[in-house]
Symmetry: C2
Subunit: 436 residues, 2 copies
Amino acid sequence: MKSVRVGLMGLGTVGGGTATVLMRNAEDITRRVGRSIEIVRAAAREINEQTIFPAETTVKLSEDAWDVVNDPDVDVVVELIGGYSPARELVLKAIENGKHVVTANKALIAMHGEEIFAAANEKGVSVCYEAAVAGGIPIIKAMREGLAGNKIEWLAGIINGTGNFILTEMRDKGRDFDDVLKEAQALGYAEVDPTFDVEGIDAAHKLTILASIAFGIPLQFEKTFTEGISKVTTEDVTYAEELGYRIKHLGVARRTDKGIEMRVHPTLIPAKRLIANVDGVMNAVLVHGDAVGPTLYYGAGAGAEPTASAVVADIADVARTFESSVENKVAALGYQTGQEADINVLTSDDFETAYYLRLHVEDRPGVLAEVARIFAEQGISIEAVIQKEPQTEGSKVSLILLTQKVQEKRMNAALAKVEAANISESVTRIRVEHLG
Amino acid sequence: MKSVRVGLMGLGTVGGGTATVLMRNAEDITRRVGRSIEIVRAAAREINEQTIFPAETTVKLSEDAWDVVNDPDVDVVVELIGGYSPARELVLKAIENGKHVVTANKALIAMHGEEIFAAANEKGVSVCYEAAVAGGIPIIKAMREGLAGNKIEWLAGIINGTGNFILTEMRDKGRDFDDVLKEAQALGYAEVDPTFDVEGIDAAHKLTILASIAFGIPLQFEKTFTEGISKVTTEDVTYAEELGYRIKHLGVARRTDKGIEMRVHPTLIPAKRLIANVDGVMNAVLVHGDAVGPTLYYGAGAGAEPTASAVVADIADVARTFESSVENKVAALGYQTGQEADINVLTSDDFETAYYLRLHVEDRPGVLAEVARIFAEQGISIEAVIQKEPQTEGSKVSLILLTQKVQEKRMNAALAKVEAANISESVTRIRVEHLG
């Protein structure tokens, strides 16, 4: 049987990992797929400094990624450059040239996925992106195929390893955010500009993709509510622990009667939940289907070979479905073209979650009563209260509240009143998910 | 596009669940798969008492499962009868009649899979069995496709929900085995004859299948070492806990330099491992690939709708690959026909694990020294020792040992000497896996 000829764009961490895994496990892969997968071309900046392929390699090497998309000998273009541009243009050109595409680029799929999938559909080629979400975990496959019989009700994922590493260190060692971030940068977990990771943008890209697959809705990155972890303090991590919770940076997508919630934010989760115990740079996605109930998928969310594992699985899928018609391929976002649903995506005002609140109040009688009255007016039930002793005499105290589920606009109204009444200058609030 | 016509054999828990899910989620399933999936025929004993389909249903109902396999209007036969026979004969006849088969029958696949897959291959039809292992968890898909780029090094799974429920209750509530087993039977988790669950046979069927997929070896149920949980005592559960471990009934498959280990037995796992925290009737499988590292898949291992979730996913896969040639379908056991490896399967003598040992010894000086000497002679390193105070004066004491990894035949030799020297009448031993 004919071999599958791969052209790699990018030989960085993931590109290098992909080449390494393809070459090292070539025999096993061929035994599984029934065809050999052969790298015929690779492009990277400073290609002359590459050390992946031996000097005498038959792989055609160049600095220009366009050489890959225009090479008639390439069946599958693997895009591992990252970023929006020229990744978008390269991928669209590859499709135009009739090539299948495999990519690990979450930003590209979240922002330009609709355009790319439409072009691929038109041409009858596949665009696969398992590596774009949660690295080596086969979560796209699990949701699109493994849970195809379910109505997905909600999902919640730890889908940014850098953020999870930071929160894990803060909790385990009582270190503060800035300190751990510096270490993460030194270890290479976080970029020099850590905005995408710590402000939740990377997680929001991934959540956007997962929500589309879960609910059969178009990709709508701009409607994903995004809050990072840069304001989480060790104080909150400690109080959460006392209350039996862990703080994790979650991407949550939920189908409600009013519409779809898509949100990324720090979240208190009961410590006993399996996902609350996913630590360090590991990722996990909890998916709740109406038939299957809760399922969880755990693994490395980044790194050279874990990501390569997903890239190679996609190439194997492409190899198996070379001859399938568009209708017989798994649809890019899980639902066949034209079958997307037009479901309202909610703004944060309409989210419904429980809350952890930390107020900074005078240590005098009546404060809790005032807060409780304001909350009661908004129909907010308080589930637990902890008051911390003042650090020095006469100083303010921390008042920690856990509330029951409430519509976010009611919480906004209540907190505005708390601040207006000079009860607490500012209130720290973190959403709570029980994930039960 | 033509609909997929399904014939159901069995309308018990899983059959009923499958019909329910197919009908309830018909719209979503069609939006995903691009074809409707229609139940055209169903067979069950006492079909007249069925309550799944309304009285005026157009589904043809009969008591004879052979009507399903011989119905020319059926594209996919779904076998949910269970057991070896007549399931085997029915499935082989369905294949002979050119029908695709979906089954949840682990016993059938573990024992007769080779024969069935060969027949299916010959006919160019699919035989899918996602529901046979770990219920609703898409573990077969994850391993065959999602991890196709990896050399699987080992896997370890909690793959029998009944056993896990019993061990969880023993630990959480200090209850003993017989007591919890009775409750499990009352709750319907365990059969009236619980042998398959508590003696590990059910788990061994599943492990046999997972090992074949992991390593590309033929199904060899008879070579799977099988030990159940019926001899686990609350005492051992408690001591394990003190040492920082949990006792779980694991199926383990491992590739070693000498060959493949396939074993099912009670196992101490460090309490901090995610899989050690999988409780109650839930299942989880930890799979370690050379590229991806550790990945874990968690969900309900049994029950009507979780199992149906897997059955329906298989039907969806069949629908997508109706027109694919055998070479382009995912191979039944992950590796293409003729590509299975002939790797030696080890007997228990050659297993290498660490051990938890509980000895019943006289409370006198020198006992530990004697034991340590015997172990040292066999090259066994002791990692931890706990001696328990005697319950009454002069009575014997429990001596708990944790050893490092050792070849099982050395452990057998050491324990034979311990018993021969009248140090301890009998020794309780439980294997330890660190799963790191």
